[in-house]
Amino acid sequence: MRESVLHCEGLRKRFGDIQAVNGVSFEIASGESYGLLGPNGAGKTTAISIVAGLLEADAGEAFVAGERLTTRSVAAKAAIGFVPQDLAIYPDLSAHENLCFFARLYGLSAKQAHARTEEVLEVVGLSERANDQAKTYSGGMKRRLNIGIGLLHEPRLLILDEPTVGVDPQSRNAILESVEQLGEKGMAVLYTTHYMEEAERLCDRVGIIDHGELKAEGTREELVALLGEHDKVHLTGTGSLEAAANACVRIGAVDAASTGDGSIELLVKGASAALPEILTTASEAGVSVHSVEVEEPNLEAVFLHLTGRALRD
């Protein structure tokens, strides 16, 4: 059995009237990648800020590598590598200087910091530009440096908060490959994203979070199994999509519906049998349907099933 690196129990955090995190509990073992999947504003960043020791929880507790985690716990923080969502680098320092500074802050000696900096520069592919000021880097290079800082002290738990937001496809792929390799090296990874594909590709287990609550967690297969016989039906068309979605959700076989950019997503039990009624309802609601696609359920369909809305909402 793999050792538990992060254990959270009943985490709660309120900002004024907003309950940002409401009783979130989960556990990550060494070498495991755990994804927190949810739309913007679901409570992912707040949850991750508590787990990174940046915010004090109102209730609940978290342990990292057996150490109780608070904003003041030095031992627990030493086991964590944190990669924030926004770029957190010094643009007027070089990659080498950025890495060395944070390495020293994590307690490495000058010699160790220098050696680890060289290794990390190699890992994130910035060796050739190591001495250039970070402000001269492309967006992707800055993202890689941002991630590299989190790897410096070889943490037991790496927390990545939406590291691919605003990144070009090539850099995004490079980042995802790097994260995959980290899990293989035995590092526990906590990864937040609102991209279903990233969660499916990277994470051994996924927690679905919405309105501050962990709705479900498990492997992809376990989560998809929650849907039972449901299929995902994707309609594209023009007209009153919102009205059509509302009408469709009243059909007995339709479990949930949401609208997107010129499309309607439906979670349907027994799609082949229900499809004629769905198309008739959509047409009566004033939608001219251009295409229909029945897809195998994925995490997005699970999210739709659990929350009644799409990940992108």
């Binding site: 800020s49 990174a52 020791g53 940046l54 915010l55 904003t71 003041r72 030095v74 031992a75 923080k77 030493a78 964590i80 944190f82 924030p84 926004d86 770029l87 957190a88 680098i89 010094y90 007027d92 320092l93 200087e97 500074f101 944070f102 020293r104 802050l105 994590y106 307690g107 800082i149």
Partner: protein, 385 residues
């Protein structure tokens, strides 16, 4: 403390790299100290000679009395003989003379009881100080002529006797001399005054790079990264405070040394100056920290700190000695670190013992304690992601 030193070293590296600190802490105060010192020195009678033309249409003993008197005035006024009033006007207009005095025909006779005459002073509106000097000389001369006239009448002296009296007056030493003792002992010379005034004025800008950068780092996300590291929040705060202190000490020390050796400023006893610098830097850092804690964003903090720095600088006498105007301004001036620093330096520079810095040092430390304590209570909210 290790983490605090790392943060300070990183901050200083950034500040040196973007040259902002060098500009604000050394270049700008030095340039302004030099410019203001030179300008004010230029107006000082002791350091600039005024050339006044003398048009003698009288050709009597009165003109020679004036020339003798001016010769005794030292190097501040140089007299130059001019043939006619028209030439005097031309030379003043061309800037070759600061002013000209026209002694009219019959002046000597007038001083012996003859009909009254008028002394004209030629000046250029573009050179008001030169005209003022000319008027002052002519006024003083008219007064002395009036005195001689009264004495002659009192003695019942005739013209020949009066000429003898004039001769005796011009060759004798004045019975009363005036020495502005308090001014020469208490006031700093312009070079030193503006070197110190600009140093303490820009000190308030230099120390901003430390404490207020907490807000900058919070906006940039690097503060969150530091907070996630296994270091205490106190060490982050200490690192930022040490950046402010280091920039302040380096700025003040460099300005004192450069103005001492390059501009000839006289700062006084080095130990006393060091005490005043340490106390001023502490006070500036505390005031800056307090203002920073009142702001929500880095931009807001910068704007407020600039306003506070300028207002304190003006009230404290960084540009002109506001305290000398008396009243409320003098009272407000006493609430600024600038005024106490400059007062301490004035006492020290005028030959005072080391003990003269005790009072300003205590006041500066009191400002540090009061502002620092309030800032410490409020600063907790800045050290959050």
């Amino acid at each position: 403390m290790r983490a605090a030193f790392l943060i300070t070293a990183k901050d200083l590296r950034q500040r040196v790299r973007d040259r902002s600190a060098v500009l604000v802490a050394v270049v700008a105060p030095l340039a302004l100290a030099f410019a203001l010192g030179a300008t004010v020195s230029g107006f000082s009678a002791g350091s600039r000679a005024f050339t006044i033309g003398l048009v003698d249409l009288d050709h009597g003993p009165a003109a020679s009395t004036l020339q003798d008197a001016l010769a005794k005035a030292g190097s501040s006024v140089v007299m130059k003989d001019v043939a006619t009033p028209a030439e005097g006007r031309r030379l003043v207009k061309d800037g070759e003379l600061d002013g000209a005095i026209v002694l009219p025909q019959g002046l000597s006779i007038a001083s012996m009881g003859g009909p009254p005459v008028r002394i004209d002073v030629i000046g250029d509106p573009k050179n008001p100080i030169g005209a003022l000097v000319g008027r002052s000389i002519a006024g003083a001369f008219a007064t002395s002529m009036r005195t001689i006239q009264i004495a002659s009448k009192a003695l019942g002296a005739g013209p020949a006797e009066t000429i003898k009296i004039v001769g005796r007056v011009s060759s004798s030493s004045p019975p009363i001399s005036i020495s502005d003792t308090s001014t020469t002992r208490k006031n700093l010379d312009p070079k030193t005054y503006y070197a110190a005034a600009m140093a303490v004025f820009f000190l308030f800008f230099a120390v901003q790079f430390g404490i207020s950068s907490l807000l900058h780092e919070r906006a940039d996300g690097t503060l969150a990264r530091m907070l996630a590291a296994p270091i205490s929040r106190r060490s982050i705060l200490a690192g930022k405070a040490m950046t402010s202190l280091a920039l302040g000490f380096v700025s003040m020390t460099m300005l004192a040394l450069i103005t001492r050796y390059a501009l000839g400023a006289h700062w006084g006893n080095p130990l006393g100056v060091a005490v005043l610098i340490v106390c001023a830097v502490l006070a500036a850092t505390a005031v800056t920290a307090l203002v920073t804690t009142l702001a929500k964003t880095y931009e807001q903090a910068n704007a407020w700190l600039s306003i506070v720095s300028v207002v304190l600088g003006m009230l404290g006498g960084s540009f002109f000695p506001v305290a000398q105007s008396g009243g409320v301004l003098a009272l407000l001036s006493k609430a600024t670190p600038h005024a106490w620093f400059l007062n301490g330096l004035q006492d020290l520079s005028s030959g005072g013992a080391l003990s003269v810095v005790v009072e300003p040092a205590i006041v500066l430390l009191a400002i540090t304690v009061v502002c620092g304590a309030v800032a410490l209570v409020r600063i907790r909210r800045l050290i959050e992601p």
